[in-house]
Symmetry: C2
Subunit: 457 residues, 2 copies
Amino acid sequence: MAENKIPYKIYLDESEIPSKWYNLRADMKNKPAPLLNPGTHQPMTAAELEGVFCSELVAQELDNESRYIDIPEEIQNFYKMYRPAPLVRAYYLEKALGTPAKIYYKFEGNNTSGSHKLNSAIAQAYYAKKQGLKGVTTETGAGQWGTALSMACSYFDLDCKVYMVKVSYEQKPFRREVMRTYGASVTPSPSATTQVGQKILAEHPGTTGSLGCAISEAVEAAVTNEGYRYVLGSVLNQVLLHQSIIGLEAKAAMDKYGIKPDIIIGCAGGGSNLGGLIAPFMGEKLRGEADYRIIAVEPKSCPSFTRGVYAYDFADTGMVCPLAKMYTLGSDFIPAPNHAGGLRYHGMSPVLSQLYADGLMEATSVAQTEVFAAAEMFARVEGTLPAPESSHAIRAAIDEALKCKETGEEKTILFGLTGTGYFDMLAYEKYHDKKMTDYVPTDEELAVYRAKLPKID
Amino acid sequence: MAENKIPYKIYLDESEIPSKWYNLRADMKNKPAPLLNPGTHQPMTAAELEGVFCSELVAQELDNESRYIDIPEEIQNFYKMYRPAPLVRAYYLEKALGTPAKIYYKFEGNNTSGSHKLNSAIAQAYYAKKQGLKGVTTETGAGQWGTALSMACSYFDLDCKVYMVKVSYEQKPFRREVMRTYGASVTPSPSATTQVGQKILAEHPGTTGSLGCAISEAVEAAVTNEGYRYVLGSVLNQVLLHQSIIGLEAKAAMDKYGIKPDIIIGCAGGGSNLGGLIAPFMGEKLRGEADYRIIAVEPKSCPSFTRGVYAYDFADTGMVCPLAKMYTLGSDFIPAPNHAGGLRYHGMSPVLSQLYADGLMEATSVAQTEVFAAAEMFARVEGTLPAPESSHAIRAAIDEALKCKETGEEKTILFGLTGTGYFDMLAYEKYHDKKMTDYVPTDEELAVYRAKLPKID
């Protein structure tokens, strides 16, 4: 390694952290479809959205034209606490695979929240503060997003109300305590603090909750508490905008050393990481300046891209949010409980959905046990213990590198390592104890959920 | 912040990672006292030590003369996976405290094992591999050292047998699973796999284990298995040597920006972090080239420096290891179970003990709830969630910075942030739920253990 000119980790200087986010939509010929009012099926207006979301974030959500948006100085200052994130040359993984491919990964787990989610959390908290709000509400499952948001709110001295799916609240207390360390109030959902929670508790006294229910409670809490708005960690256009910092930094680091990736790989749940990682590369592709193979990787247990349909659907199980046009499995779809690998969202970012529909990117799905095998191999040779979500991208990167081994091609592969697996050790334990199984929904199962999609022309 | 010339995080270039460890003992006028054979009370010979430890590590243990020792290239390559570790200017903490002091911390938690322990683990694994051994054995409590060692052994394809205190094995399964991810075998101690374990199980069938018992099992496993040696993560001279990389990097980063610390603060359990952090600074002090205030911080519940005695004592509760001259509370001393903040070792590095006895450094002790208050404040303003152990240093750094606020002095403070608290959220939970209490042993308690110290002239 020592003789190679490219260091193991490429760190940009602090002064090279991007000062603008890149808005991919500006370069898209076919813009993502607008959000629709669930009652009228008409495009949501800014005024309607501002009842739920912060005004500046609504403006970003609807802005399909501005190519760059300045990152406010306060957010830039916060970014300096954990950015630039390193671009790592996976020399050890290459050697272990015996591949001629050159593998790079952008590592976003070097912050206490443990993932890339912080990039958007701090932006959303900033605009909430700027608007003079008291606080924000959100939902969280295992807690990655809630943790990031609580850190961001602590920095801007904003109240942060997190509705956490009850089963996670009780069985995964660690991220809950990280959130409390940052001063957030964490409520197990369903709870008696909202009408929708009370209703669900009355109907299903023993329920352990669901993400859909937690979203509904968080939205109700935002709308009914003076000075609060609701925030979301993925799927939305604004989130992809903030996450473009991942791709901008990765591209700057690669440009600095004259590296051009042939293949760019990201895991995809709601699309926040993938959309951010690929943004500047996809921009070049859309403008005809360069070409890249771009691959979304999803779990076989929740295959929105590869087995879903491109249609308007509810963004949440509770059906209180606007309708979004996206690749979806149906808003009632929930992966089987044996799926421990994250990326459980039934839909996909409207931006990425449009790009996929236009043939500008590929998608593949991988089985959970293959993902954990890749995760363990990666941990052993590269040191870093990856999050299960991130490991979907590792799996696909390894598979592409092994193809290079067969063909002898020296392709350059870039993938996103979105976070660490410190809080996912129960999933690793299942894998070690050979209790982990793969779940692949049948065509019949998927058809049941697809039939329930709202009918929109 | 933006206008300040000193970046938030100072990263050395990869080429600036030190290529030699610094051996503080070479500059000590009064050398640390030698280890003694527990049977004969004579200094342990290299031959005796080599029955338990790797030969090259024994040489390092006994070498009081070589000022620098080359870091083998294989170890340098591994260091590049997670080093250089950043030196961070705590701008946000300074602002929150309103202090004129300038606070810096060297952050060693940016690797999967989550702490500085990896710096020595990789060195010890390397020398074991070089000696042609099959594997190594060790003990671990909550698992920080075991995790680091399992990563290191995975890198060199060495077998790694970890004896983990049973109560931690059962109640803190997360680090256990990280170790298994890296291929280590983790055995709850006491176990039926050793004679000493069988004996203890027969006498105390319901025991949940102790560190002392785990050490005894690990040493027995090393001695009775062909091709194995025992390794230890703190206390020993060799460990401080390897950990000097912390101080060397910190000093190089400070020198680069013309910064000279007035006060250097480190938490102290067995002394591995503190000894490493202060090494090059103490070297200058010993050679009369510069002066620094150096402060060891320990918990009030386990106050080896501040309330112990400087005497020969057993290094382990099982009394199978050599005798070491050190500040000690007695080898039977165990902090009360309500102490969740780590740093539970009854003794202290012989090197640091000699320096303290010679008046070259200070020591202070802090109460657990004060430590967690500092930890939570630090997390909120600086982002990073600190390990309870590291937070002892944070507490003392904050206290020194507050003194500067009173006096108006612009002192420069450097402290070691040894690791992250991701696996310590149950302790944080106790703190949040106001169930955490402080424990301070009475003089009478301490006298009981002191009376049991071995009588050595």
